[in-house]
């Protein structure tokens, strides 16, 4: 099942007037994976998703979702996919329970209220949409996307505007959906979210695919240097300003010395030896690989410079 293709996009192009929103984009999503679509604002994520969901027609290229062409079999597609749009709404007087029944009937399914319980909306069944909080509206939107038991879920920034607790809860739910075998395509600005949830990431910049791979592959492809941050009791690193093999001094902020190292093993050994020789004591030591966020910023900068 893992090797079956749920979604295939080939040479997708979409223009709005003279502006090219998506430019020759190609990628595949395997069944049962969480696929992350990242990119700065206006990169073409939402346009790509809307073409794939059958909400917009592409100018060039082919799309296949579960073997269905979104352009010609929308109705069939919409019964098999669940979509949480970036901005969507319901009539203010519609209750959560009514919303589930409303859409399930259109999908030809029996209303599935279980999903509202699962998403923590048990006590909001009879509350009108206009009276729900932002977080509750987001959860209801997710409930509506999955109520008809779709095979593929498209989520466009599902955690935008949510507090930390709601965000963590939603992450757990998405992981549960993945374990149940659902394929999830997640467009997000939140790098930590993408790193935590996604098995494959695609970074889109100016409508083009900039990077594609696992979070580890995407991160590793960038700046290979490790960031080392040290604080000592006697401040010998500040006073002596020693040089360590493979390391470059970055900055000194409130007794914390920051280095960038191309060989963190050698740098750390030398650093610890230096502290011992100078009778200094280690108070804090942090060794950090570049994060996905830093890699993302690096790619964005590179692309901007080459534009």
């Amino acid at each position: 099942m893992q090797n079956e293709i749920a979604l295939e996009v080939r040479n997708l192009k979409k223009n709005y007037g003279t502006t090219r929103a998506v430019d020759d984009l190609s990628f595949q999503v395997k069944r049962g994976e969480i696929f992350g679509l990242l990119g700065p604002n206006g990169a073409g994520k939402t346009t790509t998703l809307e073409c794939v969901e059958g909400l917009r027609s592409q100018d060039e290229g082919t799309i296949s979702v579960l073997g269905i062409d979104p352009g010609s079999h929308k109705r069939k597609l919409w019964d098999k996919i669940g979509v949480q749009l970036q901005t969507s709404a319901l009539p203010a007087t519609m209750t959560s329970k009514e919303a589930i029944a409303f859409f399930c009937h259109y999908h030809g399914k029996k209303p599935n209220l279980e999903i509202l319980h699962r998403l923590g909306l048990s006590n909001k069944l009879s509350d009108q949409y206009g009276n729900l909080s932002v977080g509750q509206k987001r959860r209801l939107a997710l409930a509506l996307a999955v109520a008809h038991e779709p095979e593929v879920l498209f989520l466009d920034e599902p955690t935008a505007g949510l507090d930390v607790e709601s965000r963590i809860e939603l992450h757990l739910i998405l992981k549960e959906f993945k374990e149940e075998g659902k394929t999830i395509i997640l467009a997000t600005h939140d790098m930590a979210e993408a790193e935590k949830l996604c098995s494959t990431l695609a970074i889109i910049i100016n409508g083009k695919l900039a990077v594609l791979g696992t979070p580890a592959q995407v991160t590793a492809a960038g700046d290979k240097r490790t960031k080392i941050t040290v604080a000592t009791a006697k401040g010998s690193l500040v006073n002596e300003k020693p040089q360590f093999p493979g390391a470059e001094f970055l900055s000194l902020v409130q007794n914390y010395v920051h280095y960038n190292s191309e060989d963190s093993g050698k740098t750390l050994l030398a650093l610890l030896r230096f502290l011992e020789e100078n009778g200094d004591e280690l108070l804090d030591l942090r060794v950090e690989r570049p994060s996905l966020e830093e890699r993302f910023m690096e790619i964005t900068r590179e692309r901007r410079n080459t534009k």
């Binding site: 749009l85 859409f103 259109y106 999908h107 509506l144």
Partner: protein, 268 residues
């Protein structure tokens, strides 16, 4: 079909749950009927002759022209149509269901006006009840399809209100709802012919209140209402947009075709 039926039932319920819709469907027209009939029947002896069709037309315009376009524009602008679309709601449902929902609400309000007119204010009862019911149906469909069309083509809520008021206010003043059309000067009668309410009241007066046979020029108001309903619905299908923005401005000129039956009627 189950989805459509469920949607229709929801739409009817929403018309009662939503305070604004409740006001425009019931409270405003019924309150207006109770108050206006009370003093108009005393100062205008002819008012009792046209009280029931006049007040029904007023209730129809309140539900369709004052309420429907705003609901459609708000739903479109808020992205509700997009949410509906991705969940398989067909576009025809978003055109037909508001028309049918309006029909149910206006039927209830019109029933109360008819009973209240006869029993509270001694208004003239229709001579032909069959025509009365048929004309209620035809006029309601004509006005609600116009309300839906305005909602589809209006660029914003404000524009929707202005367009709707451009039909509503002249209809109240010139449409023959409170003052018989015969009392108007000739040139104002030509302007009145451009309004759906005028044809509604003419048809009610001819067929339901006077029980005249359907023949020749008297059939014109009836034909205008039926043809305009068909044109409004067809234009609604052509111009409907799922996006938060309405149809492009150059296509909106198509909506002016909705005036054709009314313009032609001036020459009859």
């Amino acid at each position: 079909m189950k989805g459509f039926a469920h949607h229709l039932a929801y739409d009817f319920k929403a018309g009662i749950k939503d305070k604004t819709l409740m006001l425009m469907n019931y409270l405003f027209p019924l309150g207006f009927f109770l108050l206006v009939s009370l003093f108009m029947s005393k100062i205008n002896p002819f008012f009792n002759e046209i009280m029931i069709p006049g007040m029904i037309l007023f209730a129809l315009m309140s539900s369709t022209l004052l309420s429907l376009p705003g609901t459609i524009i708000n739903n479109r602008e808020a992205g509700i149509f997009r949410s509906f679309r991705i969940n398989g709601v067909p576009s025809y449902a978003l055109i037909i269901i508001p028309i049918l929902g309006c029909l149910f609400h206006t039927a209830l309000a019109s029933g109360l006006i008819t009973l209240g007119g006869i029993f509270l204010y001694e208004g003239k009862a229709p001579l032909n009840w069959g025509w009365f019911l048929a004309l209620f149906l035809i006029t309601s469909l004509s006005l609600s399809s116009l309300g839906v069309l305005i909602g589809i083509v209006a660029q914003s809520s404000r524009a929707g209100i202005l367009i709707a008021q451009a039909f509503y206010l002249p209809s109240v003043l010139l449409g023959g709802l409170m003052v018989p059309e015969a009392a108007l000067p000739e040139n104002l009668r030509a302007i009145a012919s451009l309004l759906p309410a005028t044809h509604g009241i003419r048809a009610f007066n001819i067929f339901a209140m006077a029980d005249a046979p359907l023949s020749g020029a008297v059939a014109v108001p009836l034909m205008v209402l039926i043809i305009s309903t068909i044109i409004n619905i067809l234009l609604g299908f052509i111009l409907f947009q799922w996006d938060t923005k309405p149809a492009r401005k150059n296509r909106i000129f198509l909506a002016l075709l909705a005036f054709c039956p009314y313009i032609v009627s001036i020459f009859f």
